[in-house]
Symmetry: C2
């Protein structure tokens, strides 16, 4: 069933001029107020430096003409853009939402605007995108994950722009870093399941880099604990509910006696819960399920989902503080932070 477009509304108004009239400039405001351009600039930036009478005249002119300062021109001259650019792999999951919001809020409080670009999980376009970002000369760059390509690293390093890599860790950060070890996270989840008596472990994982690192930590820990190698199901990132269902089905085909599954995302885990229920498997009785992300629904599912929480808000706030400090010429005392993770114990495992 679908609705046909409604041709009656909205009405097409008269078309705008295709070549828009030029925007109002400082020059025009200055002329109208009978002052110099620099005085207008001061009224807008440092009003205390201007006499009250002059200020009033200028403000009238600004309002009358609808003047909106051209921040690009100002930024070019002052080499301060007040703009921070952040790259995220995807805006479709909820995983990065917390960070995006706290980054936006914290930087806004420090006088910066934040804009996000979507990269995708494929690294192919990364260098090109980094070039476009650096070309805009933002006051800071926040990256999700660490940069591997030599070209990308060179570009960022040479730019002199403050950079924060997030959500991951590396012995060779480009500049600043707020992350965690996904290997150790995988190890911890394995130990957690083992401590609760699970012996036939499995992993359903997205094929992105950080998920792969979690899987590796998990499998290595299983090996050290003397367990048989966990069964693996890889699915293409970004991961989905459907993949959780088909992933569990395939897993039970390959390793029918599996008693615990670690999923690389909560959405996969939700799919696993759905599939288990339709098969009459009890969770956690027959199968323990652990997710990753602690996205909003995890706490209120039935059974509630045991998962791993990364403090996205703290990542965003820390990255914001790093960038703002640097942009203001302060030095950042400890520019590399491991924010760790926590396993949130709930009903599913």
């Amino acid at each position: 069933m679908s609705a046909p477009p409604d041709p009656s509304r909205p009405p097409d108004p008269s078309p705008l001029p295709s070549a828009a009239r030029a925007a109002v400039t400082l020059r025009e405001v200055a002329d109208r107020a009978g002052v110099s351009m620099i005085t207008v600039s001061r009224v807008l930036k440092t009003p205390a430096q201007v006499s009250e009478a002059t200020r009033a005249r200028v403000q009238e002119a600004v309002a009358a003409l609808g003047y909106v300062p051209n921040l690009v021109a100002g930024g070019l001259r002052s080499s301060r853009s007040h703009l921070v650019m952040a790259l995220v792999p995807t805006t479709r999951g909820q995983l990065f939402g917390e960070m995006m919001q706290s980054l936006t809020d914290a930087l806004h409080g420090r006088g910066f605007q934040v804009m996000f670009g979507e990269v995708g999980y494929a690294a192919s376009r990364e260098d090109e995108l980094l070039r476009a970002i650096v070309g805009r000369r933002p006051d800071g760059i926040v990256l999700t994950g660490v940069v591997h390509s030599p070209e990308g690293r060179r570009l960022l390093l040479a730019s002199g722009i403050p950079v924060v890599e997030t959500w991951d860790t590396t012995p060779t950060p480009i500049d600043m870093l707020v992350g965690l070890s996904h290997e150790r996270l995988g190890e911890a989840v394995c130990a957690y399941l083992h401590a609760r008596g699970r012996r036939r472990l499995a992993v359903i994982s997205g094929d992105d880099e950080r998920a792969a690192r979690r899987q590796r930590g998990f499998s290595e820990a299983a090996h050290r604990l003397g367990l048989e190698a966990p069964a693996l199901q890889w699915v293409p990132a970004p991961t989905s509910h459907a993949q959780g269902r088909t992933g569990l089905a395939a897993l039970l085909e390959a390793a029918p006696r599996t008693d615990a599954v670690f999923c690389s995302s909560d959405m996969l885990a939700l799919g696993v819960l759905t599939e288990a229920r339709t098969r009459g498997l009890s969770v956690p009785g027959d199968l323990a399920v652990a997710g990753f992300g602690d996205i909003e629904f995890a706490a209120t599912l039935a059974p509630s989902l045991t998962t791993v929480r990364i403090d996205g808000t703290r990542i965003g706030q820390t990255a914001a503080a790093f960038i703002a400090d640097r942009a203001e010429g302060l030095s950042v005392a400890r520019p590399h932070v491991d924010i760790g993770f926590s396993i949130v114990e709930r009903e599913s495992a």
Copy 2:
């Protein structure tokens, strides 16, 4: 259980100079290659206009110096930023993800970069943000929803920047529009449930503007169909799974005989499904559930979720085409598009 930060890695490298060295400029490349600046510019933009020998020398200099053109300076002179800015209420749900991705892809194909800003559902900061956006003089602006504040409208109109309002409709668009009528959508869902024999309807809705319009259309249709007024549960946007659970609980308290619920988001609907299951209510037997958004998990839940689909990909592509055409000086023949919606019939209703 949580992991302490690991102090051993990554090692802090020697601190970067707090005042970064100035970036390489066109001047330096030109000097090294022994040509004028304009020749370097041409090698980068229109290489066919330059002799092969010169081109090679310039390219060597560009590579050797790691030159990254300053797009801000270029944009100031040419008044073409090749940048489109888009505003979304939230990046936390999946609802706008499809649009964000298709907008990014389509505009990238036309030579534009897209950056997203997060607004929040509260309109309070909107004007301030619009001012910051207009101040950057992008080649286009994509908005989620329509702009109501007179100040915001004036600002955008006066800027002369191509603007596309999306996801909603209005008789008075600022410029271009790709949206749909949420009232008509609500009506259609009501008619759908009525046609399937449901008579005691209810709505659990986020308190954002578009959700409220869906609710209004739904309730008015119920009135025209001679049904009693649907029970209403309002929850603060952005909506969540937890709100779906508590919302259904409150609803059944207030209107125990409810036989169908329209939820303003699929995430709410998932919460309703969870709550219904824990209460031993069968869906759709005891209770029909309809969502909104058709986000990824809707098709593979058990029961699968009947919902309303908006073609976010098409919104993004259409908005991209509108902006790119305008930026290239073409006129847009039909700048107001109603993309409609479709009810996706599945098991839950």
